[in-house]
Symmetry: C2
Subunit: 214 residues, 2 copies
DNA sequence: CGTTAATTTGAGACCATTCAATTTCGGTGG
DNA sequence: CCACCGAAATTGAATGGTCTCAAATTAACG
């Protein structure tokens, strides 16, 4: 078995797991709850770059890149295994299967970033929000966190806005559209996909980029 | 020395190096000219996800992911070393330094994707276009392709538009603004940065994400 | 020098933003 | 258990940045 030193840590709402500019000292694997990566702009804006769920590393690039180029923040009630970077790299050096799994995970990250570039660049607000919901639905389903179309979805509309490049106000109106069309139910921390096929259609969604079959 | 089987290939304008959905059989390293990654949308739109220059792999993720999740196209006069995926993976397995370099390159890719997400999501057209120009300037400078602020820049305004998520018309107007402000000179295939400090300022540009010092 | 691609210009429409106010929700203490 | 509070969600109206649709001009190329 693996003997990897790690610390289980709890992160409250908006607590930082990683800070931009920081020297990389460890990598964090989410055990419970959500976290997200973001960058802050000079004008005060914030862009969420990806959203992470249990079983995912939030900062595996810290293993090889010296300095963190973005921030990682927790969504309320997030727990993570914080692993010293050096220990993880030793493990990667010794065990080719683990090394490969880690590389694949960074490649999956990159694939999702690419799809987000497309989402932000060429999709209107309705399609864009729907696409994000589709992605989260499949990824959460993939780790067994979905039950009859329903899942725990703790993002606020403000966070959803920062993830889609929209304003909170317009995100709100967009969600109302999706609700009115009978595609989703979303209230509090609970998201239900009412009509997956139509949501997928509206979202211009193609799950190839998630590489779930790999 | 390395004994890596490869084929030097020439790609004309818009020729495809990789097609979405294709099984991955090889990886391409750019030797001369530019290439870009893109995805096509159902509505006919195109989003350019990244632009690649000599010394860069355009599809290193093909080494470990089975299916290409996006397209790669050449800009006129692109030459690449096409390397069989299996041979490259054998090399990676044998030589840890090379493996590490490949992993780092995929991580740098990912870092650039993240910055593009921010660029598309939270920057207005002027800042966005300026940011892209800043990035290309530094990356080309980094490979020694810059001379006195000037560089060969073969992107059309339509491609620039697809890379920034704008329309060609608005991209044109935005470039005119940057020209009028004395920040750049851009005509034909030649881009000159006239005032790096101010361009950098206008672009909200921070080169940390390029990790050039690593 | 002709022909097509690329760039540029103009005007009107529209999607998303801004700003401000209101309502609802979730949690906490009395 | 209800009253209160701040956070989150919702609504409205006006503004504005970018898009759309054409047409005109310029540049690139064989």
């Amino acid at each position: 078995m693996l003997s990897l030193p790690y610390t289980r840590k709890r992160f409250g709402k908006d607590a930082y797991l990683v800070r931009e500019g920081q020297r990389a000292t460890d990598c964090s694997l989410i055990l419970r709850g959500f976290a997200f990566r973001q960058k802050l702009l000079r004008n005060g804006g914030r862009q969420i770059i990806s959203i992470h769920i249990p079983t995912e590393f939030v900062d595996l690039q810290n293993g090889l890149l010296a300095t963190a180029d973005h921030n990682v923040q927790a969504i309320d009630g997030c727990e993570a295994a914080v692993i010293p970077r050096d220990a993880l790299m030793v493990l990667a050096a010794d065990r080719s299967a683990i090394r490969k799994a880690m590389w694949v995970e960074t490649l999956l990250d990159a694939s999702i970033f690419r799809e987000w570039v497309v989402n932000m660049g060429r999709r209107d607000s309705r399609t864009r929000v729907a696409h994000l919901l589709c992605e989260m639905f499949l990824r959460l389903k993939n780790i067994g966190a979905e039950h009859r179309g329903m899942l725990d979805f703790p993002l606020t509309q403000e966070q959803l806005a920062d993830a889609t490049g929209l304003t909170p106000v317009h995100t709100n109106r967009t969600l109302q559209l999706l609700r009115k069309d009978g595609l989703i139910r979303l209230s509090g921390r609970s998201l239900t996909v009412l009509d997956w096929d139509r949501l997928r259609e509206v979202a211009d969604f193609d799950e190839l980029y998630l590489h779930h079959s790999v």
